[in-house]
């Protein structure tokens, strides 16, 4: 009734609901959940791996399982270790994918918000997960002793 008035800032009937219909974004919810899980795991587990396997081991300061084939293969054959490594490697990648995607947004690449970017980034995390499963299953056969 008063559409022609120059009152761009009146709020009334039907103006409050925004431009689109709202519904919970289940996909966002899931990826955020994976991001949070991965973040916790990376925070709690990664520093010690990097310290021991990336620094102390190569420098020979302490003995580390991955320095010798025997101990490494022995450990890698353990199914619990395989499961642990899957969690350790795959989950953080969902965290990284999420963060890097938003980092691109922050650095001025709005396209990183779109569905194609989501497919690339979260798809990448899924690919790393599948690759990890493949490597864990094919590298050293499962052994129970």
């Amino acid at each position: 009734m008063n559409a022609e008035l120059p009152l761009s800032h009146t709020v009334g009937e039907g103006q409050g609901e925004g431009r689109h219909r709202h519904k919970p974004a289940i996909a966002h919810l899931f990826w955020w959940f994976m991001f949070a899980q991965g973040g916790v795991l990376a925070a709690i587990l990664l520093p010690v791996h990097i310290l021991i396997q990336g620094i102390l081991g190569p420098l020979g300061i302490v003995p580390v399982v991955d320095r010798h084939y025997d101990t490494w293969a022995n450990v890698l054959g353990n199914p619990l270790v395989k499961l642990y490594l899957l969690v350790l490697i795959a989950f953080p990648f969902f965290h990284f994918a999420h963060r890097l995607r938003y980092l691109l947004v922050d650095l001025g690449v709005p396209a990183a918000r779109g569905v194609p970017a989501q497919i690339v980034f979260y798809g990448g995390a899924v690919a790393v997960t599948l690759g990890t499963i493949y490597i864990l299953l094919t590298t050293v056969p499962i052994s129970f002793g």
């Binding site: 761009s8 709020v11 919970p24 974004a25 955020w32 949070a36 963060r99 947004v105 922050d106």
Partner: protein, 247 residues
């Protein structure tokens, strides 16, 4: 008191009818009293130097929320940004970041007004409660659940500090989500189910990447960043846990 001190204020000037883009205008004014704040300086300019400078203000006691501006690049309430903290350096006063500028230091905050309405910031009950029954019983511990989120004065400093909002104006934003949480965790409210579609929408809580600056600049001790992450967590738990409360 030294009445001879002077301080330089650089204020944004912009009149959409005359100017292509905003520019800074420099004013030198007497800094006569250590109690003076940036808002006093603006009032001096408007009253005695240049009546055409436009900005909003009212209560000058940090509660009406209208005098938020960028003071040397930081979003602040100008009524408690003291000149003595800057003198003798000049002070740059600009309109709040991330909002369209209507004129000089005045921003267009209608976007927030729409978002505020969208999150249904009122007590929602499944059944109407008659007044005759008296007030609800609510313990201080129950009030503590939402107390800090109810302190929001809608001053828009958090939106000005939020790069996520700056990059994407569709984002629901810190204050609106904090106010939604204020009602969601109020023991008298039963409207969580009605607010979640808006909160957990693609442009809702998920957009937030937890920069945390909203909580840093809030002049009232509200922690919107926390409200947003808690909403993410609660929402996720509702869907992830098999017996999540899905009312």
């Amino acid at each position: 008191m030294t009445a001879t001190k002077r301080i330089t204020i650089k204020a944004t000037r912009f009149d959409p009818d005359k100017d292509e883009k905003p520019r800074l205008q420099t004013y030198e004014i007497p800094f006569s009293d250590d109690s003076m704040v940036v808002l006093d300086a603006l009032n001096y300019i408007k009253g005695h130097v240049d009546g055409s400078l436009s900005y909003r203000w009212s209560c000058r006691m940090g509660i009406c929320g209208s005098c938020g501006m960028m003071v040397d690049g930081v979003p602040k309430l100008t009524c408690n940004a003291f000149l003595r903290d800057h003198w003798p350096r000049p002070i740059t006063v600009e309109p709040l970041n991330n909002f369209p500028v209507i004129r000089d230091l005045v921003i267009d905050m209608d976007d927030f007004m729409h978002k505020l309405k969208a999150i249904k910031p009122w007590v929602i009950r499944k059944q109407p409660v008659p007044l005759g029954g008296g007030a609800f019983v609510q313990t201080t511990a129950q009030i503590d659940e939402f107390r800090q989120f109810s302190q929001c004065i809608n001053c828009m400093l958090c939106y000005a500090a939020c790069p996520v909002y700056g990059l994407n104006n569709e984002f629901l934003g810190p204050a609106a989500i904090a106010l939604a949480r204020r009602y969601n965790v109020d023991s008298r409210d039963e409207g969580l189910g009605q607010r979640l579609p808006v909160l957990a929408d693609a442009e809702g809580v998920w957009e937030c990447s937890f920069v945390g600056e909203c909580s840093v600049v809030c002049p009232k001790g509200v922690d919107p960043a926390k409200a947003i992450q808690q909403t993410k967590l609660d929402t996720t738990m509702r869907f992830v846990l098999p017996f999540g409360n899905r009312d």
